[in-house]
């Protein structure tokens, strides 16, 4: 079953006199439980594509259907709520809330969803334990290494029980060991909880782990390779 359907998606930037086609007539489908990487050189349009899938950016043409909902037609406040309930985000620069502890960062999204305190407590501790940070639940981001912060970010992304997780260059700021650990954790969560992961990445180690690799160049999908 398709979780995401992308139909003839185009994004044109009009920031200067020259119009730039960042994404050009892309159509893709993602099924539940995929572990996919969107790869391509800088400026190829992979981050723009990811932002549009996540409802952070609007398309110029085409539409994205998530679980039967055309997200381009949602109003701003509805779209925010849609993201809260359906999409998990992992950013390149971790982007944790610095004044909250690791556990509070993970709980935060569940609190926005209106989950009970007991449920928040249980799930946040379980997720942090799953990413190997069971002992650092009360540490603030400034006290964690880059790899640890990114693992908290993954736990946060999964806290809301999203339909899929979008990860924009999640390993770009991490060393090899942290990258390896993070990818193992995400792969394990993908398999155990059947959550769809979509990465945009340059990192060959991520590509190697991915079971589907979509290559984007100049806004076009030039290849879409599925692996066993």
């Amino acid at each position: 079953m398709n979780v995401i359907e992308i139909n003839n998606l185009t994004k044109i930037y009009n920031e200067s006199e020259v119009k730039v086609k960042a994404v050009d007539n892309v159509s893709l489908q993602f099924e539940q439980g995929e572990f996919a990487a969107i790869v391509g050189p800088s400026g190829s349009g992979k981050t723009t594509l990811l932002n549009m899938i996540g409802g952070l950016d609007k398309s110029t043409e085409g539409d994205i259907v998530v679980d039967g909902v055309k997200i381009g037609e949602l109003k701003s406040s509805k779209l925010i709520d849609f993201r809260l309930r359906n999409i998990g985000f992992v950013f390149q620069a971790y982007n944790l809330i610095p004044v909250l502890t690791a556990k509070e960062n993970v709980e935060f999204i569940m609190e926005l969803q209106g989950k009970s305190r007991v449920e928040r407590d249980e799930r946040s501790i379980a997720l942090l334990s799953a990413v190997g940070l069971g002992e650092r639940v009360n540490a603030r981001p400034a006290k964690l290494s880059g790899g640890q912060q990114q693992r908290v970010a993954v736990a946060r992304a999964l806290a809301s029980k999203p339909k899929f997780v979008l990860a924009d260059e999640p390993t770009a700021n991490l060393d090899s060991k942290s990258t390896e650990t993070l990818l193992d954790i995400m792969e394990q969560l993908n398999k155990e909880e059947n959550i769809t992961f979509i990465f945009s990445t340059h990192d060959q180690r991520v590509v190697n782990k991915a079971r589907r690799v979509i290559t984007v160049e100049d806004g076009h999908v030039v290849s879409d390779e599925r692996r066993a």
Binding site: N51, G54, L56, D57, S76, S77, I80, D81, R83, L84, R85, F89, F91, A93, N95, I97, P98, V99, L100, E104, E107, F108, I109, E111, L112, Q113, R156, S160
Partner: protein
């Protein structure tokens, strides 16, 4: 909501220095505004107390024409009917009849126009209470020399005693205030003052044929207790009024203007002197609750229900003082307004910096699903915390100052003192006790915070998440 509070509280301490500077600016604004306003209001209260509550009363009942032409010809019959009508009004604390008119006073050496005030010596104790103002101590240059030689005093008190040379006092408490005495110095100095500077002066009896003369007037006329005062004036319907009166006592009136011209005599004596029969010029009324003055004025007018009389409040029969207070008050409010306006820009600057620094963080919160309204609450709470810390600390710091200077008013000296005296007021500045003005500072800061919130909230509402994430 709890997490919103926690985030807001922790956010304001992310940049401690900036928070402390912002809080300090609010603290100082609130502190100075409270102290300044308290000084102003305290001074007004003092002016009203000495000129209104302690002399004219808050309300006067007069003949209708008297208000426009304050002459004895516009006096009225003092009857039991009007007394019983006034007594019916709840807020009336005291109502005393008076005869007030001008005459020329002379002791042979000097002469001066004076305000002759006929009073009921017993009833008047409830209003201006001249008995309480009878001069008990006089600091002549010789007496000051003797005191300084006899008692070892700190330099400051010696200077203050010298500065008060030729002054008269009706109480130890005023001596203590003027000479900045603490309880230890009072214990040393008061027995010596009692021994050296005591002054014999009497109050009027009910049927007394003598007069009380205000201190400054007595000094001008070079008159003393036991001397004779000649008064010449015009009586009711042009009758001539001339007589001699023995001086029974000297009274120290706080208001320098009145202290320069007041002569008290019994009501009966004044009615006889001015050929008034049973007539009086005013019925002076003090109120239990002066804040209800306008309502009481209406009640009195209704209770009297007679076209011959008019009921006036002090703002009507003393408009100069009202205008003086209003003018000064507006000046003070403008100054405080400027102070707060400057602080407002400081707060807005802080908020904008907070927003600019955290643009990406705010973008992330919206990206992961935080509604912009909830995010706005975080920012509003941050501002409220800053405002509350600054305001509460400012109020807390100003409270002891208000209490201290309310109990120990500042006695002005030098040119400032002269200026106050020229304006007819006692040169003393007490701070007003806690009142509406205290609460208003908190309200003003909260309004400023709400104004300062507008820009950040607008930015959050119009936030482009992609641009914020790239910041």
């Amino acid at each position: 909501m709890k997490k919103t509070f926690i985030m807001a509280w922790r956010n304001i301490w992310r940049n401690k220095r900036r928070t402390l500077i912002t809080v300090a600016s609010i603290f100082f604004a609130v502190f100075f505004a409270v102290v300044m306003r308290s000084f102003q209001l305290g001074t007004y209260d003092h002016m009203i107390h000495q000129a209104i509550e302690s002399f004219t009363g808050y309300i006067q009942i007069q003949d209708k024409e008297f208000f426009y032409e304050p002459s004895l010809d516009n006096s009225f019959e003092y009857t039991d009917e009007i007394v019983s009508s006034v007594k019916k009004v709840e807020n009336v604390q005291v109502a005393v009849p008076r005869v007030e008119s001008f005459a020329l006073a002379s002791t042979g050496l000097q002469s001066k126009g004076v305000l002759v005030t006929g009073i009921d010596p017993v009833k008047e104790k409830n209003l201006s209470n001249p008995e309480n103002r009878i001069v008990k101590f006089r600091f002549t240059p010789e007496i000051v020399d003797q005191i300084i030689k006899e008692v070892e005093l700190p330099e400051k008190q010696v200077e203050l005693i010298k500065a008060n040379e030729n002054n008269s006092y009706s109480s130890f408490s005023r001596i203590s205030l003027d000479m900045a005495l603490d309880s230890d110095l009072e214990k040393i100095l008061f027995p010596v003052i009692e021994q050296k500077a005591s002054f014999e002066s009497d109050y009027l009896n009910t049927n007394d044929d003598g007069v009380l003369v205000s201190d400054r007037l007595a000094r001008y006329l070079k008159a003393d207790v036991g001397d004779t005062l000649v008064l010449i004036g015009a009586g009711y319907h042009g009758m001539s009024a001339a007589n001699i009166f023995p001086i029974r006592g000297i009274v120290k009136i706080l208001s320098p203007e009145l202290d320069n011209k007041l002569v008290y005599m019994t009501l009966e004596n004044a009615q006889q002197f001015f050929s008034l029969g049973n007539r009086v010029t005013t019925l002076n009324i003090n109120l239990e609750d002066p804040d209800e003055m306008v309502e009481s004025q209406e009640d009195l007018q209704n209770a009297i229900n007679n076209d011959q009389f008019t009921v006036k409040n002090w703002e009507e029969f003393n408009p100069t003082m009202k205008q003086q207070i209003e003018g000064d008050s507006v000046g003070g409010v403008i100054f405080i307004g400027i102070l707060y306006f400057i602080v407002l820009f400081g707060i807005v600057g802080t908020v904008l910096m907070m927003i600019a620094e955290r643009k990406r963080e705010l973008g992330v919160m919206v990206a992961i699903g935080m509604a912009k309204v909830k995010l706005s609450f975080v920012l509003v709470f941050e501002m409220l915390f800053l405002g509350l810390i600054g305001t509460l600390s400012g109020l807390a710091a100003s409270a002891p100052v208000v209490v201290f200077f309310n109990r120990n008013p500042i006695k002005m000296t030098g040119e400032m003192s002269k200026m106050y005296e020229d304006m007819g007021f006692d040169p003393v500045m007490p701070l007003a006790w806690f009142n509406d003005y205290f609460v208003w500072q908190a309200v003003i800061v909260m309004i400023m915070v709400i104004i300062a919130c507008y820009l950040p909230l607008r930015r959050v509402r119009k936030m482009n998440v992609i641009k914020a994430l790239r910041a």
